[in-house]
């Protein structure tokens, strides 16, 4: 019994991110130009030199599997691995019924490796954490479970699972999305609460025992937050690890952790990358963010018939081809081809996209493989946009993967003519 095994839960459907999750599971959703959501959790392990990692997949996982194979394959020397485990009916013919069930159905992989501790982490949050430091904390406290938590202002407590702790950092209570009045604040800090990040480190033997007990319990929903943790908490061996105690050289002191669960939070997180004092930076040579990079040349900028490429506050991925367009406050992924006099503002382009000349996009998310006809305007008249596209509460227009936009009218015009 030795070492650390990581199990990353990557089965999320991400229905509130629809249509970005129409063809892919949430952890495979592209983010920040070059990345996929799952990359952030994986970098947290790889940069901490914890490299025995299973990624548990379930929902529309093909895109995720391809990404893991291309970006995250390890050499196999030194028994390191990052491997996807698809749901495969190991225990019965059911899909995973909860987070604990997902681990239970793959308990044999834990038994096979016989680690001392098991890290169970989600894969759909944006943050940086040196997981090794949490492991050290977990070992020092000697508990059977350590839960990662972030300090948030009390007024936001109703969004999260709120952990009550004693002075020693021991977990003494847990409430899923409590009302603000009911939320237990941090001892000595009446304005803040501790929200669970859904990241756990278990002592391996405790985890296995709890999983088997829970699996036999017909009343359980087989979920870590709802079933396993409350039970363990009562035994007094659960501790809390604060993200703010995690130190990464070159990172700001304030801990950044974002759920990009909805289209609006997804869009906002991108805009935060562009902010003057960005709360989360993709640049830190002490914490490189690995991902898959397709064979593409640097982004190319051209002028076209008096139209000069004007770029302000934006990120532009490799293989992009900007041919005399205006781009402001936007994030462009790999291989975005933007034609002359197009204007792209406050938008997120996931990649492999073509925007025709003179098109205007404002506050738009373009999924991959989208083609926008010349002169098309999106995001200026939300009433019109709602008829054709998904529009979020905050007015972000989302164009689904592979859409051809603005060409139909031309075709029908041609049809009429002939």
């Amino acid at each position: 019994m030795a070492g650390i095994l990581a199990m990353i839960l990557a089965g999320g459907e991400g229905s509130r991110l629809f249509p970005l999750t129409q063809t892919r599971t949430k952890p495979a959703v592209p983010f920040g130009g070059n990345y996929r959501l799952v990359d952030f959790a994986l970098n947290n392990f790889v940069n901490a030199e914890l490299m025995k990692i299973y990624v548990l997949t379930q929902f529309k996982s093909q895109s995720l599997s391809i990404h893991l194979r291309k970006a995250w394959r390890l050499s196999g020397i030194a028994k390191q691995f990052i491997e996807a485990i698809p749901a495969q009916q190991r225990v019965n013919k059911n899909w995973y019924s909860g987070t604990a069930d997902a681990i239970y159905q793959n308990a044999r992989f834990i038994e096979k490796h016989d680690p001392e501790h098991v890290c169970i982490f989600g894969s759909d949050h944006i943050y940086k954490m040196d997981v090794q430091q949490m492991v050290e904390h977990h070992k020092a406290k000697g508990g059977s479970l350590t839960v990662a938590a972030i300090r948030v202002v009390k007024a936001q407590a109703y969004h999260f699972g709120i952990i009550e702790v004693d002075e020693q950092g021991r977990m003494i209570g847990f409430m899923e999305k409590p009302s603000v009045e009911d939320a237990k604040t941090i001892p000595g800090d009446d304005d803040h609460v501790l929200a669970s990040m859904g990241n756990y480190i278990f002592k391996s033997d405790v985890l296995l025992k709890e999983l088997y007990d829970d699996a036999a319990d017909r009343d359980s929903s087989h979920d870590f937050g709802k079933d396993i943790i409350p039970k363990l908490c009562r035994k007094g061996k659960v501790f809390v690890y604060k993200l703010s105690d995690n130190y990464i050289p070159g990172e700001p002191a304030t801990a950044y952790w974002r759920d990009v669960g909805s289209l609006d939070s997804y869009w906002e997180s991108h805009m935060q990358l562009l902010a003057e004092k960005a709360p989360f930076s993709l640049y830190n040579k002490h914490w490189p963010l690995h991902t898959y990079h397709p064979p593409l040349p640097p982004a190319t900028f051209r002028d076209q018939a008096g139209s000069i490429s004007d770029i302000s506050r934006s990120m532009i991925g490799a293989g992009s081809y900007i041919n005399g367009a205006q781009i402001s406050n936007s994030v462009l992924g790999f291989s975005c081809h933007v034609c002359s006099a197009a204007i792209i503002k406050d938008s997120v382009l996931l990649g492999n996209t073509k925007v025709g000349s003179g098109a205007r996009l404002t506050k738009v998310i373009l999924d991959k493989g989208v083609e926008i006809a010349p002169g098309t305007i999106i995001g200026e008249n939300l009433e019109e946009d709602r008829k054709k596209f998904t529009v979020s509460e905050d007015g972000v227009v989302v164009i689904a993967k592979g859409s051809k936009v603005g060409f139909e009218e031309q075709n029908s015009a041609i049809d009429k003519k002939y």
Binding site: Y283, I308, I311, G317, A318
Partner: protein, 407 residues
């Protein structure tokens, strides 16, 4: 299909590219923002599905080894590999004395291989070639050796090794850098000559025999161009492969082949990439240009206090961070930080570089890890620049690796 083994000569010192070759061998010199020179030939092999490749290194090869390891390591499920072979005194305590000697000293890798054909290619030219098409030609002609050649106007003959051919493409003469008047033109085309590209496909048995024969010749310079080919072609089985016959889907018909042997030709070949109609494109999906990508985010553009970024006819790589600067007709490699009010035009930044505020850089090549302070001007007053930096015949200023300027 016949079995093919490839040997890439990557030992070049590239002294005319100094100071870019001060700390690295020529094939390892960065090119086009994200590439190294050697990537061109490796992509030619890999995109041709020829994946059994030895890279023969010798001079300052650490940077090249690292690049090969990071960018070109293949999985070893099948019999495919891209392996660097350093010079290792296999036949005695001497370095490679010529191109043929480099192969001779590694003859055991050919002897122990089952290959029918041995491709011997250089690694410091910029071009795209589907090598399968050349092999098909080599087989059709039943050649013992096929030499690639590019058609050039007769006036340029004195730069190159000029091949004389008969009507069937058989090599019947070869002169290294002839006077223009003496250069033999192509039959039926008195204005053009065929210049050797230094790329060979040999019948494996013939190659082994020739190398052993040549190694024993005390007067030989052990060079393919000077010794092996002149000995082989009179036997009538050496053919010339016209590069313009090579076709790659998605490419323009123009045959593009550049030696980037000196600073000026290096600068011009980079500038070719950002022309309005570039003669060679890095964007062909049917011919992807693989290389190593460090873990970096997309290029980031911020506004300055006074102005936005103006980016004109340029290529900007991942990890660059441009704040309110003007970039014209330039190529920026990975991780270039450019501060506000700075203007960079006709420059090549190889990467990992910081340029301060309010600088002017014109026709400058900036090697890696260079820091330039605020208010520095380079390339404006060449007389001044010559006192501090290497300046080429055409007035390109080169800032060597790791330099700190203006502090």
């Amino acid at each position: 299909m016949a079995k093919v083994l490839s040997m890439i000569l990557a030992g070049g010192e590239g002294s005319r590219l100094y100071p870019l070759t001060q700390s690295r061998t020529k094939p390892s010199v960065p090119f086009g923002g994200s590439y190294r020179l050697i990537d061109c030939v490796l992509n030619n092999f890999v995109n041709s599905d020829l994946l059994r490749i030895y890279v023969l290194t010798q001079f300052k090869s650490q940077s090249l080894n690292k690049h090969l390891h990071e960018a070109w390591e293949l999985s070893n499920i099948t019999d495919t590999f891209i392996d660097a072979i350093p010079a290792q005194m296999r036949t005695g305590k001497h370095w490679y004395s010529g191109t043929a000697d480099a192969i001779y000293q590694n003859l055991q890798f050919i002897e122990s291989d089952e290959a029918d054909h041995i491709c011997i290619f250089g690694s410091d030219h910029i071009y795209k070639m589907d090598i399968r098409q050349k092999i098909a030609y080599h087989e059709k002609k039943e050649a013992t050796l096929t030499v690639s050649a590019i058609k050039l106007p007769k006036e340029q003959a004195y730069h190159f090794g000029i091949i004389e051919v008969d009507e069937e493409g058989r090599m019947i003469g070869f002169v290294e850098k002839p006077a223009v008047a003496d250069a033999k033109t192509i039959p039926g085309d008195p204005d053009h000559v065929l210049a050797s590209m230094g790329n060979y496909i040999f019948n494996s048995q013939v190659l082994q025999k020739e190398l052993i024969r040549d190694a024993a010749m005390k007067k030989s310079s052990h060079d393919f161009g000077k010794d092996i080919i002149p000995h082989l072609y009179p036997q009538g089985k050496v053919f010339v492969y016209d590069f313009s016959q090579n076709s790659i889907p998605g490419e323009t018909n123009e045959t593009y082949w550049r030696d980037v042997g000196n600073i000026d030709s290096y600068w011009h070949a980079n500038m070719d990439l950002i022309k309005s109609q570039p003669p060679i494109s890095l964007y062909n999906r049917r011919w992807p240009m693989h290389t190593h990508y460090p873990a970096l985010p997309a290029a980031h553009f911020r506004n300055g206090d006074e102005r936005n970024c103006a980016i004109r006819k340029s290529q900007i790589s991942d990890g660059c961070f441009i704040t309110g600067a003007t970039i014209k007709k330039s190529i920026l490699g990975f991780n270039c930080f450019v501060e506000q009010d700075t203007e960079i035009s006709h420059c090549i930044l190889l990467g990992d570089t910081k340029i301060g505020k309010n600088c002017r850089l014109t026709k400058v090549i900036v090697d890696k890890n260079v820091s330039i302070a605020d208010n520095v001007q380079i390339g404006i007053n060449l007389e001044d620049d010559k006192k501090r930096f290497t300046v080429s015949d055409e007035g390109i200023v080169v800032i060597p690796k790791g330099a700190k300027i203006g502090f």
